[in-house]
Symmetry: C2
Subunit: 116 residues, 2 copies
Amino acid sequence: MPNDRLSTTFAALADPTRRAILARLTAGEATVSELAEPFEMSMPAVSKHLKVLERAGLIERGRQAQWRPCRLETAPLREIDDWLERYRRFWEASFDRLDAYLKNLQREENSSVRKK
Amino acid sequence: MPNDRLSTTFAALADPTRRAILARLTAGEATVSELAEPFEMSMPAVSKHLKVLERAGLIERGRQAQWRPCRLETAPLREIDDWLERYRRFWEASFDRLDAYLKNLQREENSSVRKK
DNA sequence: GCGATATTTAACCAAAAAGTTATTTAACGA
DNA sequence: TCGTTAAATAACTTTTTGGTTAAATATCGC
């Protein structure tokens, strides 16, 4: 919960409900009730999730009568994309991919053996 | 704190200490003490951060005598990169960038007016 | 085997996250 | 103005996070 921008953005994205809300908003604006509909949780809970997204700058809210339509704001996602840049070279070379693939295979084998 | 992979990764990245550790590891493997050195916090605290990174699959740890060298693992970052894909079209067209820029200007004007 | 070094684990604490229910605010429509 | 609908806020609870200090574990060098 540090308050620098990147931490706030990552924290906001570290919840599947909030990511689902963002995904829904790629289809266009939606009201709070519409956003809440797919989830088995109370409206105040959704309201809190929206506040987290808003404070992170991932959504903006307008006003139309008693509705507060939400829309997606991608600036913070762009910042994450920029942050990732530094790490891309570690996977973009194809030999790195192969290497990772092999390590992954190995790791999965190990863990399934352990689980037995 | 949900336990799906994306949430775990985002949560791990939502802390500046942990991101600094990852950044350090782009320069190569490092021991726990080496990683701890720049921070004003106890070793156990760093150890906990490393455990969070390890559980997220962002680092792997080896053994050399009494040292546990850590190295970067980028697979989870790749997953974030993939997740971002869906949102890229919202900022990649140049008119979107201009649009965002104008909205931003507007918002800043509004909020400074409100603050007066 | 013993002392030193590197790291983890245990036990604890304060603050924050994520949910609840009940209440309040805001705006509509008749 | 009154009832209804949409949403936010208040007050509260439980769990998680991120830190602490003190103790335990593992491995080296001798």
